[in-house]
Symmetry: C2
Subunit: 358 residues, 2 copies
């Protein structure tokens, strides 16, 4: 009885080598009007999300990104400029650059300031969908820094006590380096549940638990077909964090998102995001090698705590994603057929060969 | 039928004027060995918590603080020094100073750096109980800054997937100034529920909801008499944040709390906390008056959203506390008789007149 597990239906997924997928995404965004370096960054960030198993933030997003270029929401030829600069901080005008380009720029700038001043803070004004924030904090942690990123976005989540969307499921990511392993990297939204999970439940028809979402009229629901507005994590805690993230990003860069959306400001519904990236040069405050070992030591202790029988293993932030990355780097990335069909359509539009068909 | 609401039983609470209470607390800590300025800070921070209705972080803590002085955990004559300084950051050695003194110092230092460098970051090494973090961020916001504070503390909360305490209900506070009102100030723990709420449930005997806590053996419980270990907010989200707060405070200042507690390091169970205070000089990045007005505008919009009938009003972070402060400033602070008895015992010990008996 040593037969292998049954293969998924042949039509369900297409398996693509990460390098092929990256090359395809890069070429696609070049043809969509981006400079080669920017297109490469978008490809790196999106395919990284797929490699980590964060498929909701991977190549799935490409049709929407291309549409945002077509409609002028994303500026493919954005000129990113530094509007304000201090010895430790910057305000970066992203000129509607696509999120991965603006956030990569910002985290590098914050890291550079941190090397000089111990801490570096970069505000990002007027970018678009940031993609997975964990990418940027992880890159900084790989260089021996501690890093924090957070973003403000459009109101898709209920404010506690309201029966309507008022804040965003704004994410926060924090990462630090380790000695014997990939960095510890937390990347979470402020909702009870990600919008992607509601979409998933809608597809499977599984009822959702009470406390997850409201319908479009603002009534609590467990019907996946009606669930529209996720509820905030821990009620006032999650919506409070989301509100503060808007206040310390969008309002500091003078580019309000929530208010413009909610009060009917002309053009206020247009997609935009603001963000901040903070980097700390750990070595300025303690011995970096000792810090890394202390992280490893605490990880070991926590993983050895008595385990809830409902879980197979006690996991650190980012640990599952790192394992998926290792596995998908070896065994390639499974892409659902429906998404691959969308990518193939775009390939034809841009005169490219779809990935996985070479 | 216009009779006033029935008065609480005469023995339940003692009502004390804020100034009297502050004066008493100040004198008490002076007699316990603190310099006058430090004693005044402790009095300000604790009585502020009572004024805001955060009674769990108010004068209730005094017997424990005094005990920590008696046992050498708190150094009443601490000499706070700056161990590392960069153009934007500091590492402050708190020398076991009581939390309010160390955190007040740190937030002022961070604010000073922010005025110079746009952003200021102060790490606090080896303090004790920080009291309510919202005090420090609020003070910075009252000066036109945005501020963040967070702290690492002893393992009292389950790590997600573990059936034992592994991380702390570590708090985070974020505050920004407004134009027409007190700052917006969020101050939350990373647990589903505060330890104080479990204590409260134990007193009233009310069963607690599933998902709040484990008993001391690590089993889920709804029995308030057995509930010991709060569960993390949103499972891996809450325990992930708490872990990252330890990593970016305690490990950067080389004063591990969780690992020393959990691995049986000699003296590792001794109470200590580490923290960080971050300040942002908003005026360096945008017009401060406009920022304040934008905050007010968003607050107005959110408060006007369709309301969940289960709540009386949509509240902003810190709004309830500010109203309680206004009310208790006018009508004085109700202190439970049992706590007042403890304070009276301490008053006798130190040769002071208890507050409210003048």
């Amino acid at each position: 009885m040593s037969s292998p597990p049954p293969a998924p239906p042949a039509t369900a997924v297409v398996v693509v080598a990460p390098g092929d997928l990256q090359g395809f995404v890069r070429e696609l965004f070049e043809r969509a009007g981006m400079p080669a370096e920017h297109a490469r960054t978008v490809a790196d960030v999106l395919v990284w999300a797929n490699l980590r198993g964060i498929d909701s933030h991977g190549v799935l997003r490409i049709p929407r990104y291309v549409e945002m270029i077509d409609t002028g929401v994303v500026n493919p030829e954005a000129t990113i400029t530094i509007r304000t600069e201090t010895p430790a901080a910057l305000l970066i005008e992203a000129d509607r650059a696509i999120g991965p380009v603006a956030l990569t720029f910002a985290m590098r700038a914050a890291a550079g300031k941190a090397r000089e001043a111990g801490v570096g803070l970069a505000f990002v004004r007027a970018t678009t969908h940031t993609a997975a924030l964990g990418y940027y904090t992880l890159k900084a942690a790989e260089e021996g820094l501690a890093a924090i990123a957070l973003a403000g976005s459009w109101p898709n989540m209920a404010y506690h006590g309201a029966r309507a969307a008022g804040v965003s499921t704004s994410p926060i990511s924090i990462a630090v380096p380790r000695a014997d392993g990939a960095p510890v990297v937390l990347d979470i939204g402020t909702g009870v549940v990600a919008v992607g999970k509601l979409t998933q439940a809608r597809k499977t028809g599984q009822p959702i638990p009470p406390g997850w979402a409201l319908d479009s009229d603002g009534n609590p629901t467990t019907d996946p077909a009606r669930a529209e507005i996720p509820l905030p994590l821990g009620g006032p805690k999650g919506s409070g964090l989301a509100l503060m993230f808007e206040l310390i990003t969008s309002l500091i860069v003078a580019n309000p998102i929530l208010a413009d959306h909610l009060d009917g400001t002309p053009g206020g519904q247009r997609h935009k995001q603001n963000a901040l990236a903070l980097a700390i040069d750990i070595a300025r405050f303690t011995d970096l090698a000792s810090f890394r070992k202390e992280v490893d030591g605490l990880v070991r202790i926590l993983k050895g705590l008595p385990r809830d029988p409902a879980v197979l293993e006690i996991l650190m932030p980012g640990e599952r994603g790192h394992r998926t990355l290792q596995q998908r780097t070896r065994q390639d990335i499974p892409i659902p057929r429906a998404i691959m069909n969308d990518l193939s359509s775009l390939a034809r539009k841009f005169g490219l060969t779809p990935p996985g068909s070479g």
